[in-house]
Chain length 255, copies 2
């Protein structure tokens, strides 16, 4: 790992998600957040999914906010009985859960008579939290200390990430390059690939089997903050694929 | 939560996955495993994604195998330098990492001259592990105590799950029913939904906004082990949607 990468801020994602654990829903938030964080030079180091159970949420929030520089949560901030993230964050911080006056005023103004008791729950926040206003939803997310609390609905979460990006700490952007080949198998290139990794210890060199149009292949991916090193490693990986008698194709196999 | 659900075996999934944390790959394994476990009456209680770093893998394995009855891992059991799951599991259990003679013999027999040093790594297992033979790959997964170690490539993982199912402990299958309506918003039904949840404390009643063909709606989902109760709760949820002036549609909105 390069010094730049080591110095990059670290982050975790906590998904509050019965619907993920039951298999009802395919998570669509991790990849989006991961890609945005990589672009900002923030190193995503852990993802957890926990059920909508207060003590589980509180414990995970406290473990993850202590272990990483930034914690992003998704899910559980709507108006229904199963939306308990906000009060759990207050409990995790040991602060009162109370009406955020500013948000209350803004939501009332926009929603008028539709602003009922259920909707007012979405204006409740841990004391000291700051709303995350966004383009997709009248009800905001919020941040408190190093914890960023976002919606679970992908398009609302994405709008909240967009609103957050200007205020997040940044590091050296993490870049990736890839080369792939059909008919290549990991067992055939493992030794050569380990040798390349040894020559570029500052990079993460990964090997990923894929199947496309019924044919197996392997994608080799170099990741890090030093683009010239990444490109040099990919040139060597390209030669490794060619040496197997396969045609090296730059980039990832299209999905 | 019903007694049956409480008595159901618990499980966690640990994904060893730099490629998930970097945003390169969309996880495709959690939903599959979650759905299979629900059908077997196994309660998935946590998912974690950690990087390909030995101490992180070892710590997560030890925390999760102690906290849940079953632990399923995916990823990191191939032949390349970044495949370190198997030796990490040995370290987590404090047992030697050694050649599984049976697997070594079988792989040699099938692969013949292609059975090189890199491939032989896939026959290495923690002492005491039992191979998970499967239809998709010559190299097996393995189980040790309550930990089931599977591949990250979805079709190989799926074959390993299929091979495992007959030997996993079972509980009361967890069932789900849903009803949805377009034009319904959570803020309008929150109070009514909370009242239904209060009448069916043994069920998990969830509310999930969706957008389809440009129109927002809400899906109401009842989950538990008692199918008559689930169906009764969904009838009440159907009435709740109708009372909003929307057309209740049984089931989930098609993706």
């Amino acid at each position: 790992m390069t010094q730049a990468q080591t110095a990059n801020p670290t982050a975790a994602i906590l998904i509050i998600g019965n619907e993920i654990l039951s298999g009802r829903t395919q998570d669509a938030n991790v990849q989006f957040i991961a890609q945005r964080l990589a672009a900002l030079g923030i190193k995503l180091e852990e993802v957890r999914v926990v059920p909508d159970v207060p003590e589980r949420i509180i414990r995970a929030v406290n473990e993850l906010r202590a272990s990483y520089k930034l914690l992003f949560t998704t899910g559980g901030i709507g108006p229904t009985h199963d939306d308990i993230t906000s009060e759990c964050i207050a409990a995790a911080f040991g602060v009162p859960w109370e009406l955020n006056e500013e948000t209350d005023r803004e939501m009332k103004q926009v929603m008028g008579e539709r602003y009922n008791a259920a909707r007012q729950r979405m204006a409740m926040m841990p004391r000291g939290a700051a709303p995350i206003r966004n383009e997709a939803s009248i009800a905001p997310g919020f941040s408190i200390a190093n914890v960023y609390v976002m919606a679970g609905v992908p398009r609302i979460m994405q709008a909240m990430m967009k609103a957050l990006e200007p205020v997040l700490p940044r590091g050296t952007p993490i870049q990736m390059r890839a080369v792939h080949g059909f008919g290549v198998v990991e067992g055939g290139i493992a030794a050569g690939l380990a040798a390349i990794q040894a020559r570029y210890p500052e990079l993460d060199l990964g090997s990923y089997p894929f199947k496309k149009d019924g044919v197996w292949g392997v994608a080799l991916v170099a990741k890090g903050t030093d683009l010239p090193a990444i490109e040099a490693a990919i040139r060597e990986a390209t030669d490794l694929i060619a040496a197997q008698g396969a045609q090296p194709i730059q980039g990832e196999p299209a999905a």
